[in-house]
Symmetry: C2
Subunit: 206 residues, 2 copies
């Protein structure tokens, strides 16, 4: 792409470094900003810079927060003995939206993924193990996405904490509510039979 303006070219290049945004999309977005009042671009730039510079992570659960200890961790009404292990802030938001969980979280900030160069050392695993060792945790719930990386991470953490007398559980995997059985994939359907639950349990949350 040849640009008639270096300013335009630089804006498009920076924009296209975002994931899933190619040069053409970046150009469309930048030209959109040009047609809008200057304030919109200013607000966007300021919001991004402020976010990147000033954002903090909760000292306890590593979730994104504006304060030292996030609202969930500092909430005495929540059960601090039950810790739900998730990948990132989006998973916290998703679980909070269900309104079904009253414990606290532990945000790993990723999954073990050798192919992306992410080892256990880059994740917030040590602080989770330390929490368990301290003896305040009764149950650790693994709530990573059911992928190979998620399973690997779950198992890595499980091996480190299993000797400290903590209950470990994993979120249920199976046929999604509302799904037709005939369209479910074989692996999921197969596991949902092997991992069947007492019928009384299957009524929870209905």
């Amino acid at each position: 792409m040849e640009f008639s303006s270096k300013l335009l070219e630089r804006a498009v290049n920076e924009m296209s470094r975002l994931p899933g945004i190619g040069k053409r999309t970046a150009l469309r977005l930048v030209l959109h900003l040009l047609k809008q009042p200057k304030d919109q671009t200013l607000f966007l730039s300021e919001a991004l810079t402020a976010m990147r510079e000033d954002i903090r992570f909760c000292e306890s659960c590593h979730n994104i927060s504006d304060v030292e200890v996030c609202e969930i961790c500092s909430n005495a009404a929540r059960n601090h003995a039950v810790v739900c292990v998730v990948e990132d802030v989006r998973d916290v938001m998703a679980i909070e939206n269900t309104g079904q969980f009253r414990g606290i979280y532990h945000v790993l900030s990723g999954k073990i993924s050798p192919i992306d160069g992410v080892g256990p050392g880059q994740l917030n695993i040590a602080s989770l193990v330390a929490k368990v060792q301290a003896g305040t945790v009764q149950e650790v719930i693994f709530a990573l996405s059911p992928t190979m990386e998620g399973d690997t991470t779950n198992f890595y953490i499980y091996r480190q904490i299993k000797d400290y007398g903590v209950t470990t559980s994993a979120i249920a995997r199976g046929i999604a509510v509302g799904d037709e059985l005939e369209y479910a994939d074989e692996v999921t359907l197969g596991r949902s039979i092997l991992q069947r639950v007492p019928f009384e349990n299957s009524l929870k949350g209905q």
Copy 2:
């Protein structure tokens, strides 16, 4: 969506004001920036602000430019008597990429579109008519997208300049090079027969 951080929420909200970017995509982009070095966010913000504040439009053709008169308009080797009317800078880039046009451009910055509240007064039409009236232009090529808005805009301009002894033309519309005839839509195929060209002409550009 409930966010654990106001900074994050503001960044996501501003990002999701861009066209085609919803809240979820915005969150994904913002979390990506959080994982990258701070410089990337800084460079993006600076590039956008600098672009929005300092960008200029060529005084002659209204194309985006860093200087008063853009490189194309100030190029004496180009034919200033042939003016190609386009919608925006993307069309200039597309035509320049073909390497088939040696005239100059006139960027309207939009199309007449009553449904979007865009009338002729908001477009760079008056300066084009003035150029034609000044008598320096021999041919005006209409190169807007073949939509209803494009056709309306073409016709609006055509009526204003037709009495000044200028040649007017429109880019050829027809079956795209490489397309199969049987898959072409009826309107395009029908017009391509009505607007057939002498065979010698059809060899141009091969």
